[in-house]
Every structure is written in C-alpha cells, then in structure tokens.
Symmetry: C2
Subunit: 663 residues, 2 copies
C-alpha cells in the first residue's frame, strides 16, 4: 500500500525534462522558465496545481500557481534571476472548495435547495480559517458564519458563497491535503547572457605581429583589439598559448618533419618551459597575458582559451606522472593514433589509468588556474575523446564556485555524442553548420536545434570556418559565399564565430583539391595578413554584429521559424521577441554566383501581422524599405551587392483611416 | 567524483520505456520483447552491449548480445515464457579486443610492422585466459603464446589474431571491466494470450429465460452457451449478479420511481441478501454460478464478472461500515451526484475516508472472492471514479498470486485518464471506437493505439455497442451498419466485444431522439429476444470470429497499417504476422446505404509483396478470389451484400516461368 492512499492527483508528462530529469535544462539570467505537465485526478473533482522553484542551495521554495491549458495539461512559469542551479517541482491537490463552488453554481441554476450545500461550504471555510493567520483567518470565519446564518436570505448567502473574496481566500489558504508532488525535481542551469548570445573571433596570437616574420605577442594582440571590437565581436578565442613541444614537431602544412625555426602546432602542448598552465615564452609573460585580458575587457571583449587535454612528448607531466599515460609492451609511451595514421607528436592521457582520480584533479586545476588569471570562457578541444563522466564532473566542479564560466564543446562527431556533451554541461556546442549549405539541410538542421527538445540543452555556435574547416562552398563561392555564410551563422543562431583574419579576407585556398584544410595553415606556421585589403568583409561583419546587438529577436534561438520561398536558392526565416516588439525577417541568397528572385509566403500569425494591413519592411543590411501587403511578396538578391536582406518588420504606423478627416 | 570514473559507456534513449520506467510494458506469453537504446562511448573504441533479463523474482539474469542497428542505436530481444513480471536491463562496456582487432586490420592493410600490436593482443588473450575456465581458458593461453611466438611467421600470427576462433573466445570471456548498466530496470507484464486476443459477449442473465416474463437464471445462461460459442465468442461478460437494492430503485427507462415488481438496475448493488460477494437470489445459487462457469469452460468460454464498486442504500456495508461513506451535514449519507443530477439509489465509497486501508482491503477481497469462485476476467465499471493508486495496488495484489487475472477498464473519459488506467495495470481498455465512424477518425485513432508508444501498455477492446451506447451510426444505418461496425471492431483490434442479443438482432431504437440510450434498456427491465430472427447477424459474426481464429495476423495489433483508397467511404488496412506467413487485407464500406467503389493503393513492402509479381486475394468473408497485380486495385462493396472484404493475401504459387518448358 502507498504511504498515502488519499493522494489522488497524478502528475506526468512534465516538460521540458531531459532524459527523465537526469540533466538540467539551460537558461540565462532573466529568462522565464515555462513548465507544463499532465495533471489530473479521478472522478469529477477540480484540482489546483502549483509550480515550486528555488535556487539549488536554498531552503524555501517559492510557489506560483499553474493554470489549466487544455486537455488536462497545466502550465506555469518563473523567472531565473541568479547564476547557478535552480530546482523546480510540481505539486497538485484535489481542490474541494473549487469543486463545491462549481457544483453550487449548477444547483442554483437548476433551482435546487442548497441549504445543506451552504453548510458544507461553511465547513470548508471554517477549516481554512483555522489554517489562515491574521485578517484572512478572521474574515474566513466571518464568511463561514454568514453562510450558515439563517437570518440572511438564501440569495445573500449564495452570493457570498460564489463571491470572488471567498474564492481568493480559499485559494490562499487552500487545504492542500494529500497533495501529490512530482517524483522528480527538475533542474535549470542558469548561465549569464553571453552563454546564449555571443560573437566569437578566433585568431592565432603568433600571427598578430605588424611586422611580417616577427613572432606575434600578447601585446600585438592587444593592439589588434580595436579592429576586433570594431567588427563587433565580444569573445576573442586564442588557440593554445602554452609552450610547444619539440619532439616529432610538425612542419608547415603538417609535414612529418619540421625545419629548424618552424614554430610547430600550438596543440602539441608542453615543453621544458612548462605544460598546460605555462605560457609560450615568445608570446610574452603571464603579466602580458593578464594585461591582454584586462585590455580586452575595456573593449567589451572576453578572452577565451583553448582547453586541449593532450601532451607533447616534452610535457612535464610525461616525466612527472608516467602513470597517466599508457605504456606499450616495448616500454614506450602510447602516442595518439587513428590507425593506420600515427601522431607521434601527441601523447593522449590514459583515462583508464588506475590513477584517474589524480588525473581528473590535475586537469580541473588547469581550468581553475586560468580562471585565476581572469579567463571565464573555454573552448574545449575534442571533448568527445575523453570520458563523458569526466566532463560532467569537471564542469560541475568549476561552475560550483564560478557559475560565470562558459564551456564551448569543439566536437565534430556523431549526433548523439554531441548532444550528450551538451546535456552533461557544455554551455555551447559547435555544429554541423559548415556542412549544411543547401536550403533543406539548413531548414532541417536548425529546426531540430531550435524547435525540438534539443533546444533545452544544446546551444549551437555555428562557425562558417575554423582553422580545420574551409568548406567547399567557401572554396568555390568567393567573397559572396563568405558574406552569405556570415549572414546565415549570425542570424540563424544567437551565438556564432569566425576564424580570422582568413574569414574576413576570404582566404579560400585548400591544401590540395578535395581537402578542407587551409594551404599554409596557421596551425603549423606564422602568417602575415593584410587587414586593410579592400575586399575585406570587415565592414559587413561590423554591420551584421551591430544589427544583432540592437535587435533582441536575434539574441535568442527558440523563435526561429522558416517561411516558404518558391526558389530553392533563397532561404527565408524569422525571429522575434515573445511580445512581437522586435520582429526580424531574413532572406539569404544561397547561390554565390547568380542573382536570385522569388516569392516568399509568410506565416503572418508567427510574425504578428494582420493579413489585412500593410506593414513596413526595412532592410537593415541594405538601404531599402518596402511597404508589403499580405503573406505573398517578391524578393530579389544579387550576390555581388548583398548576400541577404535582414528586414526589420513594423506594422504600418499610420494608415489613412488614422486621420480624422477620413473618419 | 563518480564511483568508477572509468565506466566510459553511456546508455540512454531506451525504448520501449513508459514514463521513465515507472510502468511496465505489456506482452503475452511467447511474445518477443525487443529493446533498443542509444549506446556509445567517447573516442574511437568499439563497445559491446548485452541485454539482461529475468523473471522478477529470479536471482540470475539471462544475457543476450545486442547488435548495432545504426547511428549508435543498439537492439536486442528475448522471449517471455512465463506469466507474471519480467525485468530487463542493458549493460555495455568498452571492448578493447574488438577495437584492437579493427585497428590491426587497418595496420596490416597499410603494411605496417605490427609486432608490438601482436604483443598487445597476446596480453589481452592472457588476461581472458585467466578469466575463462576449462578448455576455453587453455585455448586462449595457447593462442596468446602463439601470437608472441617469434618462431611463427608474422603472417601466421596475424591470421591467428584476426581469426574467428579468437574473436569468439574473447567475446565469450570479454573483460566487461568498468561496464555501464542502465540506471533503470524495465519491467514487462506478461499476461496470457486472452489478454491480447479475445472476443467478448455481454448479456443480461435475467433476460436469458426462454419463457418471456420469467426471470432468467444461470441455468438459462448455461443453455444459451452453445449459441454464444457458436458465434465464436470466448468471453461471456455478465453485468453485476449481486442482490439489487430497493431504496430509490429505478424503474424502466431509468424512471425515478419504479413500479412494484420491476427488477431495478443490477448496478445498484446490495440488499438485505448481501453485497458484492452475494448472488441475486432470482439468478440462482452459488452452486448454479459455479456450474455455469464450468459449463462455459467446456465451450471454450470464460465468464467475466462486473466489478462495480458502489452500493445501493441497502448494501450491508452501509450499515456495517458507515466510516467508508461520506456524511452530509444533515446526517444523511452522500449519494452519487453529477450536479444538478442526483443518483439517490447509489452511494459511492468515500476513498478519502480515514479508513481507506480497510476499504481497499475489503474491495480487494471482493475480487479474490470471485477468483475463488473460478472467475479470472473482470470488467471494471467506471474505474476512473476511484483513485489511480487504488487500482494499481488492487491489480498488483490480485495478480501477484493470480497472474492469469485479466482486468478490462470500462472508462469512457478524457484520454490521459484512460491511458493512465492502462499504464497502471488494466489488461484491456474500452475505447472511443463507438464515436469514431469516419475514415479519418478511425485511421487517426487506431494509428495512435497501434503505432505509438501507447501500444506498449494500452490494449484496446472496442465495442460497437454497450448497454449504455447505441450510437447514431447504428440508429440510422440499420443492419448494414451493424455488420460494418462488427467487421471494423473484429479486424482493427485483436480484442473486441458486443452487447447482445441487441447487437446481433440490430436493435436500434433509442430512448428518445438524440439519445444514445436504448429504449426499454435491459439495464432497468427484463427483455425477451427472438434469437432466431432471420435478420440476425449471428452467422456473419460466427464467420468473422472463425476468420480471426484461423488467421494469426488478426490476433495482434502492432502490425496494423492503413492503405490509401481514393474514396472516403472505403477504409483499407492490413495486418500481418512478423514473418509475413499470414497477411490479411481488409476493406470496409463505411456507408451503410450505398454501394461504394474505389481504387486501393497498397504499400507493397508492408504486405511483403513483389510489385512485379501477381498475387492472390481471397475474400474470407465472401466467396470471391481475385488475382491482383501491383499496388493499384479496384474494390467495390454493396452494403446489402457484404460490409467488407477480409482478404487473405497469397503470393501467386506458380507463374509460367515455374514450368520447365518455359525455361
């Protein structure tokens, strides 16, 4: 037998709930959390339902009423105000007073004698009076007395019984006897806004020198900040800044042997100068780094570091902690492999080591070290090659004291693995965006990301390019292709990033035909860039980022909706704020070579537009303004002029009928 | 930190799983249970995955391997052999041997030196040898030695390393170190076949007399058995057989006052002769009842009783246990109500009583009493007006010792309530079938019941009519409407039922226009029926039930698929066995008034048919046989002749090319 056989209400089908509550949903400070559930009881009694929530550590729950949506589905919401974990839960109970009131109404309408029913109501009010305190209790007792008071007319007593005052008091002091509580508390991970809305710029500090041939430094990067801020980025992500190994160091274009003086790959971490907490001497000192972080802040930019948990053979840990690496039968250390390929410049940590606990702690301390140096954002390299449980623990450990920390998962792997990393705690995730170039691919993919349960835990951060990815569309499409991919990334997703300067300079030469690697990649050599090249996209990028900042619709992903266009080279979608105060409609030409035109067919409800009234569309990326009518409208884009329309929609401010003389 | 940071495999997305494993899925003895899950690990290692299962009480698990389906999804199955609860669970582990073997293959293909790799493999084989027993262990040790044996050629050693023998031994003695186990064990409720496949006949025993005017008895019912068995029914459901109350007894056609001698409603349970465990004296004795149960068994029929947990004011419990009923302030007992309607002949039990535990036990004992009398099937009246937790407990209690018990939920209420009752334990459930009469309604509803998660716990038992439901379609459509609804119920669903004799006699007069109640309903009076009326559907019913018995396809619901017909008055669907050894295609004319024709467009894959080959369709309900070709075929049904085709499909046995002289 259950503990309380009289707990008659059932709560099920709670949403959003990730893997039966195993993982939290994600929100940012100031957002509302809307929770829905199927809640019902046996028989004909009415129920009441409340949403409880609190910060994870707090003792007291806050309670807000839930309302019946339809078909036994109830909904309620609360706002998350503080960084960190929240918990929430649903409780519900049979509400005898509400049932009684509903029935009384029917009896009165049928002209029945309700004397006994008024007595029943008085009884409930008396019990509530005993539960209530102060004025409420006194008033309830008064009303209870009045309901039974034979000196009052039945009509008077009925009016009092049905009155709003009694209802409000009874709701406030509801019995909640035998209340049911959902058997799982759901968690909400609350991040700061930048976890949801961010524009990333990746660059190699060693290529930041003004003087070709000289190794760039943190000071050079600091000098580059106005340029980056001018384009409107707010996260500056640096590939690993640690000492680079010399054993088996790779040469330019990933050559197995390197020439004297070649700098090697920054991902071959560790040398005699130190490991994951040290700084590559040629970049500068720890002080220089802290200065850069501070300077960047002055420009509204946060420096993000790369977390790449692997070692060069020269990493101090290889010597100091041989137990964290796998030994081969011949006594050598196991290097990284993807058979038949061997990466002898890299030693992976052995996460199956007996000493996994000390290894985990060491790696956590690497992150904490950089947090101590002022870094709060981390781009994690290949998280899918380390155990899921490790990341869940590490992120939890770091965020416990530093809930402002943001982790971006750089995993390009199978979909379920990418989703699992997001569920277990990564704040943002790389995407398949680089390989989604046609209209149907983009539509299907971003619909999955923004309109299914995935949106509750997976924050996409699409990149048109990275040091590892120069896709065919960019290789063949030239400058218009770069512009179109920028417009897509920056408007489909509230967070996005580019790898510059190659991106804004439209660098498009692959190492060899069919490859997605850059020729003369900065991963293996220092490059000098002509930032003032006239074809640079920097002004377009700056404009797009300004549009993002001034339009809240573009700062969230869940309102994304695709609209039909009768041309497969044109894609059309909208985003809006919940209250329709800001509505953006984007049309992108996916063909970098030809002018394309077509007719859009807009979902007017979604856009909050009256199909009978004209409305203004103002292209924030161009100069055009149009007055549109209805759902069906003509669009045309010439890739040589503009990759996209980013329309701000406005219901027409005035129509003729607004003027008095027409009335 | 987790207990074992080296448990790297993740198991999620397990299906079928009802409400996060809160409820069991349902199967019948001999069925296979197929379980699928997303299982994967970090990095590039291969994994292995096993499905564990056992009877709930057993100590040891049986283990069967799961196989990779696609995209990180794994599947496995087992057969349930015994009545009662099974439990199952998934475990998975990183399989270093399989990973090593895959990599060795690539290295060998690339012409690399694999001496060290063979040593690694030998090391794994040695560890497995230590785990293994007997011959397996010795053979593993031998192979391990051979892999390292410098006297053998590399080619020999590689062949041995890649051989099936080593793979099989390593799989058998897999390390399973740091294996992950899914954090929930899933349950399977295993019922007997009749829970899944049954044909119900409901009748009022008191109307079973051959002699009009005489109160029918159990002996009369026994005499009716050949008639019922002749129609092919295997469950005979009797409305309550208990003493009927006299206080506020209802008259014919639900009149508030009854005339002297009127029998009252059998659902007003309890009188001075006794309550829920007593028998209405006019029906016979307990011995007569036991004889009826036994006699029915001889005809292959089980007697099902009605469980209606409510009392007439004259029920002994009202006097003996006043604490189980709610008191009104005026001292009277609270009668049933649906304001403004009052049912003063019925006292509901008060499930919110302080004494709920004794009430629950009492009600459970009612069921156990009838089980003691040989009844194993119960039709439960209005279960949705008693607490869900009560039913879950009661059914669990009864089935613990009597796993053969079957409970049918008679709830016609909101969808989530009906589903919850099915989840918590009811073996079968009434449906909305009576109100689904058009093609789109039937298609949508039965697709939900058979092709979504609902099928894992909800076994539909559709009834074209009941003593409470004479729908408009039957009222207006006459005999052809009854025939069509019978064909639908009996072929859409493996279980179904009718309320006879009104059904087979096509009784179609409502109490008043717009009502779904029968005129002169047997609920309130005794009726005499002319079973030999020439318009009786008994022969059609007998034929339909014979078809159901000889075609296994019709004994399960999950294979139901709808096929397109270009006429909304014709509905077409198929059912088949898993191996296509039995394939049934049904076409029903939903228009009882007109001949309808159209073209079906069959899903040939679903039917297991080669679109290039002709096939036979034989109408088991009529006499026609056709040779059809391809997906597109003409059908025509005249309601005056036949409501439906029930085609048995057979790939054509011989074609010209089978004969030698054509070859």
């Amino acid at each position: 037998m259950p503990a309380d056989g009289r707990a008659r209400v059932v709560i099920e089908g709670v949403e959003p709930e990730i893997d039966c509550g195993r993982y939290p949903i994600k929100r940012t400070v100031g957002e509302r959390v809307f929770i829905a559930a199927d809640v019902f009881t046996d028989g004909h009694d009415l129920i009441s339902c409340a949403l409880l929530h609190k910060q994870a550590g707090a003792r007291r729950w806050s309670k807000t009423p839930m309302t019946l949506l339809e078909n036994d589905r109830w909904g309620g919401s609360f706002t998350v105000e503080v960084l960190g974990r929240y918990r929430c839960c649903i409780m519900a109970w049979v509400d005898h007073f509400r049932s009684w009131r509903r029935d009384l109404k029917k009896r009165v309408a049928a002209g029945q004698d309700v004397a006994v029913d008024l007595q029943i109501g008085a009884g409930m009010a008396k019990l509530a009076a005993a539960r209530a305190d102060g004025a409420g209790g006194r008033r309830l007792a008064e009303i209870a007395g009045a309901l039974e008071d034979a000196r009052r007319t039945p009509a008077e007593r009925i009016e009092m019984a049905m009155g709003e005052e009694l209802s409000a008091l009874m709701a406030r002091w509801s019995e909640r006897q035998h209340a049911a509580k959902h058997d799982r508390e759901l968690e909400v991970e609350v991040d700061r806004e930048r976890a949801r809305f961010s524009a990333w710029y990746e660059m190699f500090p060693r290529s930041a020198s003004e003087k070709p041939g000289r190794h760039g430094t943190f000071r050079d990067v600091a000098a580059r900040l106005p340029y980056i801020a001018g384009m409107g980025f707010d996260v500056l992500y640096l590939p690993p800044i640690h000492p680079i190994g010399v054993t088996h160091r790779k040469g330019r274009n990933n050559a197995v042997r390197c020439e004297r003086g070649e700098p090697g790959s920054p991902w071959a971490i560790g040398a005699k100068e130190g490991g994951h907490t040290a700084i590559h001497p040629e970049l500068g000192s720890a002080t220089d780094f802290r200065r850069l972080v501070k300077k960047a802040e002055e420009h509204g930019i946060e420096v993000a570091l790369d977390i790449a948990f692997q070692c060069s053979p020269d990493h101090p840990a290889v010597r100091e902690h041989p137990e964290w690496f796998r030994k081969r039968p011949d006594g050598t250390v196991q290097y990284a492999e993807n058979p038949p390929k061997k990466y002898q410049d890299i030693y992976p940590f052995d996460f199956e080591t007996e000493q996994w606990e000390s290894l985990w702690q060491y790696l956590r301390d690497v992150v904490l070290h950089w947090i101590g140096e002022g870094v709060k954002i981390f781009r994690v390299d290949n998280p899918h090659t380390k155990p899921f449980a490790f990341w869940e623990w590490l992120i939890g450990e770091v965020k416990r004291d530093h809930p402002e920390a943001i982790f971006l998962a750089e995993a390009f792997t199978r979909p379920k693995v990418m989703k699992r990393l997001a569920k277990l705690g990564f704040s943002q995730s790389y995407t398949y965006f680089a390989w989604k170039n046609s209209k149907w691919e983009l539509t299907e993919y971003f619909t999955e990301l923004t309109a299914t349960k995935v949106r509750e835990y997976y924050r996409p951060n699409p990149w048109p390019n990275t040091p590892d990815i120069l896709n065919e569309f960019l290789q063949f499409g030239g400058r218009p292709a770069f512009a179109a991919r920028l417009a897509l990334a920056a408007t489909l997703s509230a967070s996005y990033g580019i790898y510059g300067p190659p991106f804004e300079l439209c660098e498009a030469t692959p190492r060899e035909p069919g490859s997605e690697e850059y020729l003369d990649s900065e991963k293996y050599q220092i490059r000098a860039w002509d930032l003032d090249h006239p074809d640079s996209l920097r002004d377009t990028i700056a404009l797009v980022n300004r549009i993002r900042r001034s339009n809240p619709a573009l700062q969230f992903d869940r309102s994304l909706r695709f609209h039909h266009v009768n041309n497969d080279e044109l894609i059309c979608y909208s985003k809006r704020t919940q209250d329709w105060s800001n509505v953006i409609l984007v049309v992108v030409n996916l063909d970098p070579s030809h002018r394309q035109s077509g007719w859009v067919d807009l979902d007017m409800d979604e856009l909050g537009l009256d199909p009978q009234q004209p409305y203004q569309v103002e292209d924030l990326l161009g100069v055009e303004k149009y007055l549109w009518h209805g759902a069906h409208n003509y669009v045309e884009l010439d890739p040589e002029q503009s990759p996209a329309h980013i329309f701000l929609l406005r219901p027409q401010v005035r129509t003729a009928s607004d003027f008095e003389h027409y009335m």
